[in-house]
Symmetry: C4
Subunit: 371 residues, 4 copies
């Protein structure tokens, strides 16, 4: 099911190794689509710097024989406090796309978030047996929104994640420069776009995906729309893309079961605050009332520890999953999740944490700031 | 009207692309005059670092369908919270000089500030139909000051901007090393300097422009002079070059309608505070009583957002306009302003801001400082 | 007794010179074992940055004729506030291993901490005449723990240092990549592992030493175990590997005579706080009740001053001792300790400190943080 | 009187140019002696970083026609708030040594501090007509101390500056590596050392100058010695090398008329706080009772502004004077002082400061720290 020989995967001792393999495996324009951010891409670096800035203060002699990294995320049981982030068009990086990634997620025991823009149908992805959550982009066509929710419920998705930080797609200069378009074998399988959408046609001076997004997504979503959506489904509702604690509060008051503190992996607002820097204020505002998840910049188990110590209940893992998928298909994603699990479990043990609740009690210190 | 083929401009996806084209188009000594700063040039880097240091905390689900970047700056309506900064001798970088830049400003709907040292006559620039503000350097010859104000009023300039941070010209080592002089076809068209001024002659060990400035500008301008000037005209009065909030207060008490927080693009006091760092204290001191504008280091729409979030009502855009002018004349300046507009409007939408007032309510976070 | 010609040692004017010589002398995989850290190795850099961040404020005209660097550490007299850190398998870097290092320690008048995993028997090391402390890893086999303690007591070790930050061995990617194994002439001489342990066999995708550690060490040590250990011996008890002041307090309440603030030289929890950053809070919590020592990143006499000024009574010196040993055997370690002594004594004199107590009164300032 | 052709000096537009010329003119070992610091040399970089970290907030429209940089330093009138720092053995870098430098100081109107270790006799230096202050190292031979003071008084030196931060000479690794010794034509002319002192002989593994210092200087100077010295002369007394405000207070209470906040240009305690960082606390402690001067890292007029804005009344300028002397003799030192004067006067004018008192009222902001 994978194109790359399985024998090479064990050589990867950390996620960076898998990133290197992915880069070698991918067409440069696809690589740019995966790795790029919006505008100056300063947020990409800031996300990483924010993690590097947080040091952990471990505890000793707590008697932990083996750390248990299991978590309960948005009412789903997870083997790790990790879910696979919603990412569009995974067939771009591997022919098996979301099916391979979801199988790996199932094997690892972590939820897989199906993107509205997945390149396999959500029903087929759910059929892998993975715990799936469905991610919804608020489309201009309300009927289609309702239809997608109904399909997600029918496919037994366990949560509905509404992405709120894409009123329009951030301008990703790499894609603009590359005149990036979807190849014809990759399409938004959940939408009846036919064999060719705007995403497949070249546009002078713009990304085809941005044009497609603009055509399909409703630009003016509001808290009122969220409330309507809340009323329409009994699935747990996750609001993804919150950075200001005031918005997190409104999400809770609108019935959200969870928020994802995220800057969309540096792909939306150029200059946005790193999600890890935004996390403590959001967690303080709402973590007693809803789950707080985080994404944007998570690159390993140590970063999961940092997020949990700063108030998150779990994280979404994005690009590293695509690296694994690009490099070795399902096998590669398994390796990614296995590495994260290993780093996390070892980190917990070394920090004296028997379970994720204990991680939340670790102290942290900012490295570049005052004592 | 432009020297460069229009076809190349669309390839510029960000201001940095246009900067690259400008550098290629210009004589190195002119490039140095445009890009250089005073002394160690540390302020140039500090200005940029100050913007990079500010992260924005966007808002979500505010229901913005399309962000409206219009602003009212110093009683002028502007399509963006941006005006073209006063910059001397624009024919240095393109044969059409200020006329081309002003036409582009008119097309973009932003005010154009005519420099005392413009290389076209202020009347000719005003005749382009752009909203013009006239920038005054306080000259040794008071009669000439009064004459310039009368001419600006007659040409229907909409504001008078007095630059207060040039009691003498900062020592720009690049110009000194280059023995920089004005070519003979470029001159201070508003001043009757004849075919050759000090600015056209070489001086051993100094910049010809500095010598000319010293000969023409009055060194001892004071708040009393400003008050006299305030009494002489009914135009809105803008005081450009304030960094200390105490001076901003005095400006307001002297009748200023606006202040520009500026370090003159790093060209005056070596070691001066970045204007963006000085902005919050100035805004706190006077923004309820006058408009607070900012320049020095603005390099795109995201920087406009940062300035507005920190208390500015608008910004002046300097060097990027010269880049556009140097690379592609009017067309290039249009491209610059279009890119800024696009980045700003997209940034506003991604930050959930329907209008510039909403931007002022965004929270920010310093990246290198404590939480 | 040393393999390298003594004549080259005097050329070393600082520890960095000896590091260079060591690198040249060692097999690259052994070098990696010595120098490497866990995971991203970010903690290695953070440890060094933490020292560089601390500036000292010296005192003047205190009348110091010659500074006296003597210290009393864990009831042992020491010529310097320094002990040689416990480090495993010193025969890896020099054929004389711990015997050479201990002889140099004796010559320098500093305690030598014998590792559980020393490659000479603790009795032989003690027989060098050095002041020895015995470092205990809590082994799965309780009887062996007791036996080791009894042997240490019998050999007149002066303290028992229990390492608490290795419930499992941190994943050191260099060793994993190198497939690092112990050569057959090097073994854990204090343990009756026979001619070959897990540490000598290659493991696909893991470090042989990690496998051995996992096989030998008890993973779930707790404060209860420490209390039992406290009851079993009358030796001064040192708890090594504490970073959280709450753990330091518990150590004191469990009868510890000293704690070592340490992140195990960046070899255990990836992302751990630099020990120097953790030191002030630990010192504030317990320094009136027990000795506070520090290791991880000490690279010279100035670093000793920094540690003392921030609350430590002394430091453990690790890798630099191995550098000296690798480069020039006993002679090299003597040179290392002599350089540290010289830097420390000179630094004390220049800071106006007659003795180590005075060093504790020096003010410090963080260089990258606010005043 | 200068060896280099005068025609090349005007090409120097900033001190860095003169530094480049000096480096080219000097023997590498002499260059290292001039430029080097102690130990890791981290203090050299920290000194510079401390200046770069301070931004100035200029004032506008103060009506300054021409800034007046005159100052009164330690009861001497000075054309600038600058004195030439005491530096040993200036004939090392130019055959005319202190005579050339003092003549340049006289021409510039700034005091010249004669080092105990000057390579011309203090009487000859004073005969240049410069305002001279005599710098005293506390020698083992008390009689010689008294004799030197008497000679300084007889030569009409205007102040006595006692250096208190050299109980021994910092270990400068460059000099140790170079086996640096004084050439025979350069000697401590104020001391009757005869044709050859320890400073002229090679010492394995040490700097000859350090050996000489150790032989000549009294290591245990105390506040009591200072008080005795205070009683012995009516000259203004300057205590050079204070960093802790408690020492500054003691100096005042001991009768000092001025203190110099200094880390000896990074040549003494490795890891010492940058003097500029230490300045505000010292100024707050004593500036109403004595003059506070600063040295260590001043590299131009902007740095003088920073020091004054942070509480200093003036600065000592060290290495740049040696650069000028090395490059062009008296002419080069004149150029250095002229550049500093120009930068300072221009900076004052651009900051709206009519005189040095106004500079003291400027606000500053730390660039890397919080608002």
């Amino acid at each position: 099911m994978t194109t790359a020989p399985a024998v090479t995967a064990p050589a990867a001792v950390c996620l960076e190794d898998i990133r290197t393999a992915a880069r070698a495996a991918l067409d440069p324009a696809v690589w740019d689509f995966v790795e790029g951010g919006s505008g100056s891409e300063a947020v990409l670096a800031a996300n990483r710097a924010a993690f590097a800035d947080i040091a952990l203060v471990p505890r000793m002699l707590t008697g932990v024989v083996e750390a248990d990294p299991r978590a309960r995320l948005v009412r789903s049981d997870a083997a790790l406090p990790v879910a696979v982030a919603p990412m569009a068009y995974q067939r771009l990086v591997h022919r098996d796309g979301e099916l391979a990634a979801a199988r790996a997620a199932r094997a690892a025991g972590v939820p897989f978030v199906v993107s509205t823009l997945s390149s396999h149908r959500l029903e087929d992805i759910a059929a892998t047996g993975a715990t799936t959550w469905f991610q919804l982009y608020w489309l201009r066509d309300r009927g289609r929104n309702h239809e997608l929710i109904a399909r997600a419920e029918a496919a037994r998705c366990q949560a509905l994640m509404v992405t709120v930080d894409v009123p329009l797609m951030g301008r990703r200069l790499r894609d603009v420069r590359n005149g990036f378009t979807l190849p014809h074998h990759v399409r938004a399988a959940n939408l009846d776009t036919g064999p060719e959408s705007e995403a497949h046609r070249g546009y002078g001076g713009d990304s085809a995906l941005a044009v497609h997004t603009s055509a399909a997504f409703a630009p003016g979503m509001s808290w009122r729309d969220l409330a309507e959506l809340r009323a329409r489904t009994s699935l747990p509702l996750v609001v993804k893309g919150v950075l200001d604690p005031r918005d997190a509060r409104t999400a809770v008051e609108s019935g959200a079961d969870a928020v994802v503190v995220s800057n969309h992996g540096g792909r939306q607002l150029d200059g946005a605050v790193p999600s890890l820097r935004a996390l403590p204020a959001v967690a303080e505002a709402v973590s007693t009332e809803c789950d707080v998840l985080l994404d944007s910049g998570v690159r390993g188990g140590t970063d999961v520890l940092r997020a949990l110590a700063l108030g998150a209940r779990g994280v979404l893992l994005g690009r590293p999953v695509l690296w694994g998928l690009a490099a070795h298909g399902e096998h590669g994603v398994r390796r990614v999740l296995s590495l994260v699990r290993g780093e996390l479990a070892q980190g917990m043990a070394l920090a004296g944490c028997a379970d994720v609740r204990a991680v939340a009690g670790l102290r942290t210190e900012r490295m570049r700031a005052h004592a």
